[in-house]
């Protein structure tokens, strides 16, 4: 599965609830600044989680099946987040640059996790992926800071 089947797909009943939520909270498909912010924060969180998994690989302190399955799941979540960000219409067009940057970061995170999935037993790869995921997280955090007006 989980690749495909563990995606956040809702059953019909839950789907109705989700549709109601989307209608009330997201302005019928438009992506508000807050939602864009939230999406980029999710990317930062995925990068952080990926670093922990990669750290286990780097220290030879994990099980390869676990590292591979976790990397796959996190990578898919990152791709899903990228699709959501890329497909949505921005409520505030001036945040277009941040959206593009966020989609690029999502792709970067997804690629790194894919590499971890391919080499879950290689300590050197684990070390590099951990380092690059930390950089990706910094980029995501910088976008969040720009969106919330905290950037220098």
């Amino acid at each position: 599965m989980p690749g495909t089947s563990r995606k956040r797909v809702l059953s019909p009943a839950l789907g109705l609830l989700a549709a109601a939520l989307l209608l009330t909270s997201s302005g019928c498909g438009d992506l508000s600044n807050d939602e864009l912010n939230r999406g980029v924060e999710s990317l930062s969180a995925l990068a952080a989680q990926g670093q922990l998994v990669a750290n286990g690989v780097a220290r030879d302190a994990t099980k390869t099946t676990y590292a591979r399955a976790m990397a796959r799941t996190l990578g898919e979540e990152s791709e899903h987040e990228a699709e959501k960000l890329a497909d949505a219409t921005l409520e505030e067009p001036e945040t277009e640059d941040q959206r593009h940057a966020a989609v690029a970061v999502a792709g970067e995170i997804s690629g790194l996790l894919s590499e971890l999935q391919t080499f879950p037993g290689d300590e050197r790869h684990g070390e590099l992926v951990e380092k690059h995921l930390a950089e990706a997280q910094e980029k995501a955090d910088a976008i969040v800071a720009q969106l919330s007006g905290d950037a220098p």
């Binding site: 109601a20 939520l21 989680q49």
Partner: protein, 406 residues
């Protein structure tokens, strides 16, 4: 000596029935998002389940009536049916979530397709239930769940800021809806209705009488208490590792990361093994609870001790609930998401489950000298008031936070 051993086994079994995928997910997320700030809610929920489990076990031992029998007797057919529908829906979602949880852990350990493991998990549960007696099933998952004590070892290995940890046990008010949503989630995860349904029916399965009341009290207090300690441990290890770096746990596998961080592959395997036994035990408990409720409400013969020949409709309904659980788990819904919804929706069913227990346990004409004393009455009504407030708040908070998504 034999009595002490029996009590010890009961306590272990109670631990196995307490920690389920809801506790694992909500407590880990609570720690990641709010560090140690929600420890008080975990403690509150643990005391609540111990209070009501003790009452339901006492009622079962004294009257021979399990919880759903009491619900029908006290609330009548109409409200009883409402309680049955609500609790069955929640139990079914829980069965699906637990089966999905087993499949995720097997996938993490063996790296084979998830969908294959859902069916394998259900088949293994059927085999275990067919081969082992009721007490054996409880002990298998109780003992297995003990390896999750690696969480407590991880707490001491991390050596967190103990002052901050202690401060977390003091209830704090935070006006954010996400915080309030997690208060409801952590509390509800500890008080899932299937736990008392299973506990009281288990008392009948094991033939408890008034002579088992001391055992009942110790099981409820120590068993759920130790389960609560593990829940507290999950919040602490998550708060220590995940909170500072902004991890938002969205997968069951993430729960094991702090133990990997502390003890490497050994810690990871112990954590995954403990999770496997906990969700496996909860899958059995919740699927049995669904069948117990249905059989007790409709007046069927019920009980694992009766076997399929003497209780055919009970056995068939258990298999049907398991099959429905497989169907939901296979439908592509993330088990963690099913868990979140089942836990929050369960809050709405809580008053219908716990009020009849409270009323019967306090009824002197029914329970004679075994009726609630002053402390049990006070705690019972206090918790009932909390349950009602949370039941009213649960759905609005679910909507306001986009299902905990912020």
């Amino acid at each position: 000596m034999k009595t002490i051993l029996k009590i010890a086994l009961g306590i272990i079994a109670a631990i196995g029935g307490f920690l389920d995928i809801g506790d694992l997910v909500f407590n880990t997320q609570a720690g990641a998002l709010f560090r140690y700030d929600l420890l008080w809610a975990v403690m509150l929920g643990t005391i609540g389940i111990a209070v009501y489990a003790e009452m339901s076990g006492r009622v079962a031992a004294v009257s021979g009536r399990p919880v759903f029998d009491v619900i029908r007797m006290r609330m009548g057919f109409g409200l009883g049916l409402l309680a049955l529908i609500a609790s069955t829906a929640v139990n079914l979602l829980t069965v699906a979530a637990e089966l999905g949880g087993i499949a995720i852990v097997l996938e993490l350990l063996l790296d084979a397709p998830y969908s294959m493991f859902v069916v394998t998990a259900a088949a293994a549960l059927v085999l275990i239930v067919a081969l082992l007696p009721f007490g054996g099933i409880e002990r298998l998952f109780g003992y297995g769940g003990l390896v999750l004590f690696v969480v407590i070892a991880t707490v001491f290995h991390q050596d967190p800021d103990w002052g901050a940890v202690a401060h977390g046990f003091v209830p704090s008010l935070d006006s954010s809806t996400l915080y309030l949503y997690f208060v409801v989630g952590v509390f509800a995860a500890a008080l899932m209705p299937y736990e008392v349904h299973f506990y009281s029916s288990g008392a009948i399965e094991e033939g408890w009488t008034e002579e088992n009341l001391k055992e009942n009290r110790l099981n409820a207090i120590l068993g759920y208490g130790i389960g609560g300690v593990l829940s507290v441990g999950l919040v602490i290890v998550s708060g220590y590792l995940f909170h500072p770096i902004g991890v938002e746990p969205s997968d069951l596998g993430t729960v094991a990361l702090p133990m990997q961080g502390a003890f490497g592959e050994t810690g990871l395997l112990l954590a995954l093994g403990g999770i496997l036994f906990c969700v496996g035990g909860a899958a059995i408990d919740s699927s049995f609870a669904a069948s117990y409720n249905l059989a007790q409400f409709l007046g069927w013969e019920w009980g694992r001790y009766q076997g399929p020949r003497k209780a055919p409709r009970f056995t068939a309904s258990w298999l049907v609930f398991l099959l429905l659980g497989i169907a939901i788990a296979q439908s592509g819904i993330n088990p963690v998401e099913i868990t979140e919804y089942s836990v929050v929706f369960s809050v709405v069913a809580l008053p219908l489950t716990y009020l009849p227990v409270l009323l019967i346990a306090g009824d002197r004409s029914f329970m004679s000298e075994y009726a609630n004393g002053r402390i049990a009455t006070f705690l019972g009504w206090l918790y009932f008031a909390v349950i009602v407030v949370l039941a009213l708040a649960a759905i609005p908070l679910l909507l306001a936070t986009n299902g905990g998504g912020g």
